[in-house]
Structure formats: structure tokens, C-alpha cells
């Protein structure tokens, strides 16, 4: 029992460290603040945390306070629950039989959470942001589900440790690149990140980010980075062989690979235009979804052959 609590605390600590590191990388790579020095840019999580801790928590006219505060805090909770099953090397806080389903369930919960965060503030811009998230989720969710299915089919198991073990000798990314890319796209989607930050768009004053201030905003912003970090960790376990690698210990490889994926995800921010959900829906359903289905078919055939 004590060990379980201990490993859960470690997982949470690792996730939050990755979230903070993601923010540092974001500050360093941010193409809009080249005029200030490197140290100033890299310190972004410190400045922003101090700023938001010092800031007053503000309200709006007649908000649905419970849903609004709940919706702003919950993305971080979801990310923590995801982190619980992400292995570092051979160890994870938990390794349930249905690990892949656990991850999928949590990301679907974000549909409600982000919508509620937008709706609860009783503000037009936030409300539109909430609805935009639903539209966007409609585009990425099915490709994500099939992308998650591919490694599970190949491993013949929904348990994350089995999926990692099955990649011995050949990482899944090599023979399921489409699923890997669809997965990364969906991670950006549920983290409201980069080209998929449509629900938090500048054109609607930040959308779901329009109204929270102070600690609320801090928790929401941390939740975004944490979701991104959890997605990167999961991509490592499902597609990049987890802790497999020469010389270094397993956990070290997990951390390194996760860091690389996280940096790649962070780097696309601000460098691509936002994809509007109504415009990319056709792309998602006519190109990405069939592509992930074909990927799944290929994976299934190979899995049957191999067994």
C-alpha cells in the first residue's frame, strides 16, 4: 500500500516536472519573443506561476461556479490519472489489465470537462470555445481510438506493459507510423495545443481560457502542459518501445524519448496556423480516419500472421 502511494506520488512529480519542462521549452522556442534574453525566456514557468499565484481569482456575472471551477481544474486531474499508467522503464504506478482503455476513457472525459469549463463561465467567448472543442473532438476522437487499437492488437493485450514488451526488437512506430502520427495529432487536440488550439483561439479572446484568472488559470494552464506531457509519455510506451535502448537504464530511455516527443509537440506551437474544426472535418473523416483504419487492418493481418 505504502509503495503504491509512493509510486503514485513519484508519477505525479515526474508528470509535473515534464509539464514545467514543456513550458521552459515553449518559452525558449517561442518565435514571438526573440527580443528578450534566453534566461528570461526559459524562466517562463516561474514568471507565469508567480504571476498567477499573486493574481486575484476573479468571477464573471452569474457563472455556474461548480462546473466552471471543476472544468478548469479537471484537465490536470485527467493528466495525473493518465500518468499513473505510463511506465518509466519497467515500472509504473499502476499497470491495469485494460491500460489502453483507461487512457481512452480519460481522454473522452475531456469532452465534458473542456465544454463545461467554457460553458460554466457564462461568457460568450468561453462558450464558443467550449463548443469548438466538441467540434474538434469529433474530428480527432475516432482516429485516436483506432490509433490506440493498433498497438493493442499487435500486442494481443490492453495492458501497457505487454504492449511495451511486444516491441522488443522492433518499435511499433516502424510498422504503424500512421497510427503514431494520428496519436500525436490527437494529443495536440485534447491539449488544445498549437494548430489544434482552436477552442482557445485568439479570435475569441482565448475561448475557454478567456475568463479564468489567478489560481484557476494556473491550474488550467498547468493541465494543458500536463496533458501534453502525458500524451508524450504514452506515445513513448505505445510506439517507441518504452524503456528499450542500449547502455542506459530503462527509465532513462523512457524519460529521454518522452522528452523528444514533448519537444516536438511544443515546437509546433505558434508555427502553424490554427486548423478550424469546420474546415478540417472533411480531412479528418475522409483522409485521417480511413488511413488509421487501413493501418489497423494491416496491423491486424500482420498480427494474425505472426501468431
Amino acid at each position: 500500500m505504502g509503495a503504491a502511494v509512493c509510486s503514485a506520488v513519484v508519477a505525479a512529480g515526474v508528470l509535473l516536472s515534464f509539464a514545467a519542462a514543456g513550458s521552459v521549452v515553449d518559452g525558449v522556442l517561442d518565435p514571438t519573443t526573440r527580443t528578450v534574453g534566453l534566461g528570461r525566456r526559459a524562466g517562463r514557468p516561474v514568471w507565469e506561476t508567480a504571476r498567477l499565484l499573486r493574481q486575484r481569482r476573479r468571477s464573471t456575472v452569474a457563472p455556474d461556479a461548480l462546473l466552471w471551477r471543476g472544468g478548469t481544474a479537471a484537465p490536470l486531474v485527467i493528466a495525473l490519472l493518465m500518468a499513473a499508467i505510463i511506465p518509466a522503464g519497467a515500472t509504473a504506478a499502476a499497470d491495469p489489465l485494460v491500460g489502453v482503455v483507461w487512457f481512452n476513457t480519460l481522454d473522452v472525459a475531456l469532452w465534458l470537462i473542456v465544454w463545461v469549463a467554457g460553458w460554466g463561465a457564462n461568457s460568450v467567448h468561453a462558450l464558443i470555445g467550449g463548443y469548438r472543442f466538441l467540434a474538434q473532438a469529433l474530428a480527432y476522437e475516432l482516429p485516436l481510438m483506432f490509433a490506440l487499437t493498433a498497438p493493442a492488437v499487435a500486442a494481443g493485450s490492453l495492458r501497457i506493459s505487454d504492449v511495451v514488451a511486444r516491441q522488443h526488437g522492433l518499435w511499433f512506430v516502424v510498422w504503424m507510423p500512421v497510427a503514431f502520427l494520428a496519436f500525436l495529432g490527437a494529443v495536440a487536440g485534447f491539449s488544445l495545443w498549437g494548430p489544434l488550439a482552436y477552442p482557445a483561439g485568439r479570435d475569441i479572446a482565448g475561448g475557454v481560457l478567456a475568463e479564468p484568472s489567478g489560481p484557476d488559470r494556473l491550474v488550467l494552464a498547468a493541465g494543458r502542459y500536463a496533458l501534453l506531457a502525458a500524451g508524450a509519455g504514452m506515445a513513448t510506451a505505445l510506439f517507441l518501445g518504452g524503456g528499450a535502448g542500449p547502455m542506459l537504464p530503462g527509465w532513462c530511455w523512457s524519460v529521454l524519448k518522452t522528452a523528444v516527443v514533448l519537444v516536438a509537440l511544443v515546437a509546433v506551437r505558434r508555427r502553424l496556423p490554427v486548423l478550424r474544426a469546420d474546415r478540417v472535418m472533411r480531412l479528418a473523416w475522409l483522409v485521417v480516419l480511413p488511413a488509421t483504419l487501413l493501418q489497423l487492418l494491416a496491423v491486424s493481418v500482420i498480427a494474425v500472421e505472426r501468431s
Partner: protein, 386 residues
């Protein structure tokens, strides 16, 4: 005490500033954008996100009232500054940030309650006549009216003003939207005038080559704003740096090369095309009806959509920076027809094309016309409302 002083120092390293820009203060606005970036600050997108309110120029009564409304919504600790001319920007910003770090600020913020004005039209409660008197909602709000939408359903109708304090938005412009969901049913634009008298619009000032460079910078300013609205802040920043370069140095070789590199990147961006293709199509009829001239009218030949308009800005900026380019007779937004400036026609066309599309598309349509409020000052509000 030491701890809170350190927290304050850290907290002011990356101040978020919301800009409230009055018309006829473009030079000051450009200086504020530049100095804020040099300070390590960022432009806030909403009042909740802001620590500093920067009033640029001299707002008139209406605009001042709107700005006070925004000021009340800043969570605090908060500071404000008014910047009337470009050379004040650096010092005024530094003072505001210093003030932000004051310990008094935290105490003041803790005691403050959010105040709301129940008569504020922003809350959508000032339209009666639907027989739902007595249906008082909490906080004195009324239920939204309902009306038929394009699919034959009855949906809530919201009256929402856009602007005048909004990121990447023309100075002092207000667009009163009638929204159903995120669909714009009606858009009516007006400009809140500044306190002082108007002068020659910034983008059309000077003569000869300088005036030509101003025009090129005007197109780059418009393009930067459009890219920001399209959610591409990295490229928006690059275009704005080009704009500042052109205003400072005119047409140098490095700037021309950088512009052609930037132009290639923007033209190649397929995802930008997805967002702007086929949107807000300006037809010959509408050109005549609204009296549109300038780049917007010239882009009709290339399809007349948002894409055609931003491509036209890019092409004209490239042309105007050629050393031997001719100086245009007309302003960057087009010809003045009698006492009706080119931007009045742009605004009319924009508000016509904003109706019937969703909020994201409507903002792109408006940004693709980018009417210049500095030009609009000479007209009465009745003409603009037309």
C-alpha cells in the same frame, strides 16, 4: 516579506498587457507593441488574462466608458498607463510594470469585489418586447430572446458587442453582433472616436518614397493582423517585424529579401489556405454597391475571397518596396470618394459579408478588409452605420 517581494519581482517579469487603442494613435500603438516585446511582456487576449491596461491615444467619451468597463474586469494586481505618443511608450510601460510589483497592489486586489453593471448592453438584457418580463434571472439578467435560424429551428439570440478593446482589432471599432450559437446573423459596425481632432491617417502620411513605404507597411500591418486572427502568431510576428523594419529603414535589400522569403512561406501554407479559401467572397456587385476600391477591389479578379485579399497585400507590399516603383495616387485602403474614405466602403462590405458565417470566419472576413479607423474619423457615425 522577502518572499512576497521576490514573488512580485518574478510575477512582473512577463507582464500581460491589454491594449485599448483609440483611433488616430497608430504611431503610438506601434511603439507600444515594440516596447512591450522588448520588456518581455505579451499582449493579453482578454481582461482576465491582463495585468496592465495600456490606453493608447486619447479616447473619446464612449471609448473611455468602454475602457473603464475593461479596467474593472482586470483581476488585479493591476496597473494602467496612457500613452499619447511613440516616445512616451518605453517609460510609461516601465512605470506601469513597477507599479504592478507594488505590495499595496495585492492588498487592494484582495479587497476588491467584481462589480457588474446590470444595465450594460454587453450582457444582452436591454431588449424587451418579447413578453418575458418577470422572467428575471439571477444577477438581474434576462433570458435571451429566441428567433428562427437558417435551419428553421428556434434558437437563442444574443446581442454581443465585439470590441472596442480586443486583441488584433482595429482601433476603436465596435461591431454589434446578433449571434445564434456561434453564427453571426447580423453585424453592425461603428467607430468610437478619439477625444482630439483627426489628422492625416498614419498610413497615408508623408510624400514620395516615404509615402510608398508607408503604404507597404500598412499592407504588412494588415497582413500581420490577419495572420494573428488566423491563429498563426509566429508568422504574424515575423510580418510585423518586417513592417517595423520598413517604417524605420524604408526599402533595403535585406528587407526585400526577407519579405520575399516570408511571402513564399505564407503563400505555401496550405493550412492557411484551408482557413481563408472561399471565405467572404467580394463580388463585382458588392464592389459597386459599397464603393470598394484599392487592393480589396483589385483582388476580385483573383476570386475576391479572403485568400485573394491577403495575397494582394503581399503582392502590393512587394511591388511598393521595389526601388523604382511608382507612387500611388490613392491611399493604401483605396480611393476617397467625395467625403467618404476608402475604409468606409471596406467596413460596409465587411459587415455585409460577416452576416451568415460563424464567428471565426467573421473575424477573418473583417481582418481581410482591415478598415482603418484613422481614415474613418472624418465621416459621421450615421454614414458608417449605413
Amino acid at each position: 516579506m522577502v518572499m512576497s517581494a521576490r514573488l512580485a519581482r518574478w510575477a512582473t517579469r512577463r507582464p500581460h498587457a491589454i491594449l485599448a487603442v483609440a483611433p488616430a494613435a497608430t504611431a503610438a500603438r506601434l511603439a507600444v507593441e515594440r516596447e512591450l516585446a522588448a520588456l518581455g511582456g505579451v499582449v493579453a487576449v482578454s481582461a482576465a488574462d491582463a495585468d496592465v491596461l495600456i490606453v493608447v491615444g486619447e479616447p473619446g467619451d464612449d471609448l473611455s466608458a468602454a475602457i473603464e468597463n475593461v479596467w474593472r474586469q482586470l483581476p488585479g494586481p493591476r496597473a494602467r498607463a496612457q500613452i499619447l505618443s511613440a516616445d512616451q511608450a518605453r517609460q510609461a510601460l516601465a512605470v506601469a510594470v513597477l507599479h504592478l510589483g507594488d505590495e499595496q497592489q495585492v492588498r487592494e486586489a484582495a479587497q476588491r469585489r467584481d462589480e457588474w453593471r446590470p444595465t450594460d448592453p454587453a450582457m444582452g438584457n436591454d431588449k424587451g418586447g418579447h413578453g418575458d418580463g418577470g422572467m428575471q434571472m439571477p444577477a438581474g439578467l434576462m433570458m435571451a430572446d429566441r428567433g428562427p435560424d437558417r435551419d428553421g429551428l428556434k434558437l437563442d439570440v444574443l446581442q454581443v458587442p465585439w470590441g472596442p478593446v480586443l486583441a488584433d482589432w482595429p482601433a476603436g471599432l465596435v461591431v454589434d453582433l446578433t449571434l445564434q450559437g456561434d453564427l453571426v446573423q447580423r453585424a453592425e459596425a461603428r467607430v468610437m472616436p478619439p477625444a482630439g481632432s483627426s489628422s492625416v491617417p498614419f498610413w497615408d502620411a508623408d510624400a514620395g518614397a516615404q509615402r510608398r513605404h508607408r503604404h507597404a507597411a500598412a499592407h504588412l500591418d494588415s497582413l500581420g493582423r490577419l495572420l494573428a486572427v488566423a491563429g498563426w502568431p509566429g508568422m504574424a510576428e515575423r510580418v510585423r517585424r518586417l513592417r517595423d523594419g520598413v517604417l524605420a529603414d524604408g526599402s533595403t535589400r535585406e528587407l526585400r529579401e526577407e519579405l520575399s522569403r516570408t511571402g513564399r512561406r505564407v503563400r505555401r501554407a496550405r493550412t492557411l489556405r484551408w482557413a481563408t479559401d472561399g471565405l467572404g467572397v467580394l463580388t463585382d456587385d458588392l464592389v459597386r454597391q459599397a464603393g470598394v476600391s484599392g487592393p480589396a477591389a483589385r483582388s476580385v479578379a483573383n476570386g475576391g475571397d479572403v485568400t485573394a485579399r491577403w495575397q494582394c497585400w503581399l503582392a502590393e507590399a512587394e511591388r511598393l518596396l521595389q526601388p523604382d516603383a511608382a507612387v500611388d495616387e490613392e491611399g493604401p485602403r483605396g480611393r476617397r470618394a467625395g467625403d467618404r474614405p476608402a475604409s468606409a466602403a471596406l467596413l460596409e462590405a465587411a459587415q455585409h459579408l460577416m452576416a451568415g458565417v460563424d464567428v471565426a470566419a467573421a473575424r477573418l472576413v473583417l481582418a481581410s478588409f482591415d478598415p482603418d479607423p484613422d481614415e474613418l474619423l472624418a465621416v459621421t457615425s450615421a454614414q458608417v452605420d449605413d
